[in-house]
């Protein structure tokens, strides 16, 4: 992509990601007068949830739903704020000295900031079942991206499998767009319903309650839903032809399918935060790594805050509120005299707590079962890039390999281009299960920049400090 925006060498605030958190943070900081840049990898603002909200070919508003179109307001608010948005920019490195390595317009730029807000959002939890790498198997999030950006509605025999709000939302969107769904295989464990009951009162007052109920009813009316799935496999020679599944203790059943869409929730995208060496903790409810943050979102590295789902899954509304709080903290630190132009801190915290209400219910109800997080079958691939199986990992752990980094050295597990995005959580949980210790104790891959692959040519052509230029002239 050729860049048309001029990047300065330094900004007061740099925000990474133009989803709800990044847009809301950028708008607030720029209104308070901070020179603000928002760097985003996608061609247009919106992040995952509001992807292509300005450009989607899906014009009928009911298909993607009112929650999606809410993103337009955020984008408009952002655009009138004076913050600079750079779309098509990949941030591949952030240092503790608050220097960003950015790939944009075919060139590498090093940008300095006085504060940084990471709003890099979430990614889908790995769903390592037998056959999950077959053509014809993809993630629900991937299918939703195609729907939003290109209006592509899946065709043929479509099976959705897994658990979590996004699975149901995608089902509704496909159906509204005129698509067909052969079946939904619901892997939500039955005991989750009982455990979630305790959290029900707070969920009843959440903005998600009524919408969620309507959505479930809408999908169940039009599609066959099979609950309590305990076994799930994708079969086929060169591409998917069948899905093998079982519910509860019943015998396994085979179902023909052309497309299997998998989803079992989203987790914070921690590649950048881990690469900076920010402290993380293992969250026993969301079953993922979450950066350790104060209530404004400040991380363990001075000057770097995290907002949005990257700070722990909270949904789009909470993401925007967390973005505002992080921006508020940045203004407070850099330009306190401008705070009077912003809403009070108390109002911001109130808005956040309203947006977060009911989250514990969703987290408990949709907590994916162990059997689909830690592969049961030894032949199942865990690391797709380097083709490492669950069995190889178990063997290596039995040999005395105690953590993900040793596993990298032994098996190259997690050393491919995805930098562990597709296997990291599985590997942590597998080692923990084998060694009978906590995931917190096992830890995660030590990640390093570049967090996204970058052409050697770009690194070679990086701007040089003056001393280096002189050396070249002399040589």
């Amino acid at each position: 992509m050729s860049g048309s925006t001029v990047l300065e060498n330094s900004y007061e605030l740099a925000i990474i990601g133009a989803g709800p958190a990044g847009l809301a943070a950028g708008a607030m900081a720029a209104k308070a007068g901070l020179t603000t840049i928002v760097l985003d990898e996608n061609p247009a603002p919106g992040g995952q949830i509001y992807r292509a909200v300005k450009t989607t070919p899906v014009r009928r508003e009911d298909i993607l739903g009112a929650d999606y179109w809410h993103g337009r307001e955020l984008v408009q608010e952002f655009e009138s704020s004076g913050a600079q948005l750079v779309s098509g920019a990949t941030v591949w490195s952030v240092s503790r000295a608050l220097e960003l390595g950015v790939s944009y317009g075919g060139r590498t730029h090093l940008i300095n900031a006085r504060r940084i807000i990471l709003a890099t959002g979430a990614l889908e939890r790995p769903f390592p079942i037998p056959g999950w790498t077959l053509p014809g198997v993809m993630t629900a999030g991937g299918a939703q991206t195609l729907l939003k950006t290109s209006g592509l509605v899946p065709s043929g025999r479509v099976v959705l499998a897994g658990t979590g709000p996004l699975l149901w939302l995608l089902a509704a969107q496909i159906l509204r767009a005129g698509g067909d769904i052969t079946a939904i295989l619901d892997t939500t464990p039955r005991e989750n319903y009982v455990r979630a009951l305790r959290q029900l009162p707070s969920f009843l007052i959440s903005p998600y309650f009524a919408k969620g109920l309507r959505l479930l009813t809408e999908v169940r009316r039009k599609t066959r839903v099979i609950s309590g799935i305990t076994k799930l496999e994708a079969h086929g020679q060169d591409k998917l032809t069948d899905v093998l599944f079982a519910a509860g203790n019943q015998p396994a059943t085979r179902m023909s399918a052309d497309l299997l869409l998998l989803h079992q929730g989203v987790v914070p995208n921690i590649n950048l935060t881990m690469s900076i060496g920010i402290a993380h903790r293992w969250d026993e409810l969301q079953l993922c790594w979450i950066p350790v943050l104060d209530r404004y979102g400040n991380s363990s590295v001075p000057g770097i805050a995290i907002a949005g789902d990257g700070a722990g899954i909270g949904g789009a509304l909470a993401a925007a509120e967390r973005g505002r709080l992080a921006a508020y903290a940045a203004v407070k630190a850099l330009k306190p005299e401008a705070l009077s132009h912003l809403p009070s801190e108390q109002l911001l915290f109130q808005a956040l707590s309203k947006a977060e209400a009911g989250r514990a219910f969703l987290d408990t109800l949709y907590q994916p079962p162990q059997r689909f997080r830690v592969p049961v079958d030894d032949a199942t691939l865990v690391c797709r890039c380097e083709e490492v199986t669950a069995g190889q990992i178990r063997e290596t752990v039995a040999l005395g390999c105690e953590g993900p980094n040793q596993l990298k050295s032994f098996l190259r597990c997690g050393m491919g281009a995805c930098q562990g995005r597709l296997c990291g959580l599985t590997v942590t949980e597998m080692i923990a299960a084998e060694r009978r210790v906590s995931p917190e104790h096992v830890g995660y891959y030590r990640l390093r920049p570049p967090v996204k692959p970058i052409p050697l040519a770009e690194i070679a052509a990086m701007p040089q400090p003056e001393s280096a230029l002189k050396a070249v002239v002399r040589g």
């Binding site: 050295s409 930098q419 570049p450 970058i454 070679a460 040089q464 400090p465």
Partner: protein, 370 residues
């Protein structure tokens, strides 16, 4: 409770593990104390070069002896350590550089070492067809090669344990005191005691030396490496430069490792390292110039290990100048991996017999107090 041993080795890098293995082979019961895990730092994350080529003259005898162990590494540790011998080539970028290499090779020959061979442009292109046509020649050391550093360190650790050594990991040494002819080593997991202590603590060896009242001018460095996505095979030997900093190797899986000693920043307190992209950019430009095929490469990862460097770029090997029963084995200045097997054998010889066949005087810790 105090745990006793014949020797305490501090640091489970390849040097500490190798010394423990060779002590165990001589019938001693050593304990290795490691603050993280074996091979976590420089030993496990280096470029894996097994190189006699272009070494400091003082190191050549040790390197040649170590090479003999590498060539039978499977017999020694029960694992091939991923060692392959495709040669290492020092490329001259200019005629002047080639002349200086010629002088070096000639001088080596007068002292009886023949592993380095001067090559002209034609032989260079035969060995390394992908190298830029502008390079006039170089030096090859044909028996050199590369190994998998983490796997090798782990193999030494495993074999040492098999022969009776103990390795305790996640345990940090906090103090060293002399008591009745033995060393008391206080750690975060209690007291260990032995008549012999080996300081093989890498970047942290300066602290151990300071605990003994024997401070050394050790610099903590963080040499950086980059690796590419998979590329079609185009090179077999490891290539190094001397003018500009580069070491360059393609793995069997097609990925290409780019190193050469450009330094990032290290914090030995937290094990954190930070990369310096301006310097990595220099590496990228060197590769761009030397290997046109690499202009299409994609960098997928970069990292740095934490290592110790001495002011004269050669290690400290030998007995302590002040503390009886203490031996030093550190400061390998980012080229110690190949020396691991040989220097471990030499340390065991020194500890059990009081002397070594190979000359180690140049590596004495005394050189810093003169």
């Amino acid at each position: 409770m105090t745990i006793t041993a014949d020797a305490i080795v501090i640091g489970a890098g390849i040097h500490g593990c190798s010394t423990a293995l060779h002590l165990a082979m001589r019938g001693l019961k050593p304990i290795v104390i490691e603050k993280d895990y074996a091979g976590k730092h420089a030993s496990g994350v280096n470029a894996g070069g097994v190189r006699q080529l272009a070494r400091h003259f003082a190191e050549v005898p040790l390197s040649v002896a170590s090479m003999e162990l590498w060539e039978r590494i499977e017999d020694l540790v029960g694992d091939d350590c991923g060692f392959t011998s495709e040669g290492q080539v020092l490329v001259a970028e200019t005629e002047a550089e080639l002349e200086s290499f010629r002088a070096r090779v000639d001088e080596l020959r007068t002292t009886g070492f023949t592993h380095e061979e001067l090559i002209d442009h034609a032989e260079l292109k035969k060995l390394v067809p992908a190298v830029s046509d502008s390079c006039p020649g170089g030096v090859v050391s044909r028996r050199d090669g590369a190994a998998n550093p983490f796997r090798a360190t782990q193999a030494f650790r495993r074999k040492a344990i098999l022969l009776g050594a103990k390795v305790v990991e996640g345990v940090t040494v906090t103090a060293l005191t002399r008591q009745g002819g033995a060393w008391r080593v206080s750690t975060t997991a209690g007291i260990f005691e032995a008549p012999v202590v080996v300081n093989a603590a890498g970047a942290w060896a300066g602290r151990i030396a300071a605990m003994l009242g024997e401070p050394v001018p050790l610099e903590v460095i963080a040499p950086m490496l980059m690796i590419t996505s998979r590329m079609p095979h185009f090179i077999r030997p490891v290539v190094i430069l001397r003018g500009r900093k580069l070491s360059f190797k393609q793995f069997d899986n097609g990925t290409v490792l780019i190193g050469g000693g450009h330094l990032g920043r290290a914090d030995p307190e937290t094990n954190y390292t930070e990369l310096d992209w301006t310097k990595l950019s220099e590496s990228a430009r060197t590769v761009w110039d030397l290997f046109p095929v690499m202009r299409q490469a994609t960098i997928v990862r970069a990292w740095a290990g934490i290592e110790a460097r001495m002011p004269d770029d050669i290690p400290v090997i030998g007995p302590s100048s002040s503390s009886e029963g203490v031996y030093h084995q550190f400061g390998f200045s980012a080229h110690g991996f190949q020396l691991g097997p040989g220097v471990g054998a030499l340390m065991a010889e020194l500890i059990t017999t009081g002397s070594t066949n190979l000359p180690i005087a140049p590596f004495s810790i005394m050189r810093f107090s003169k």
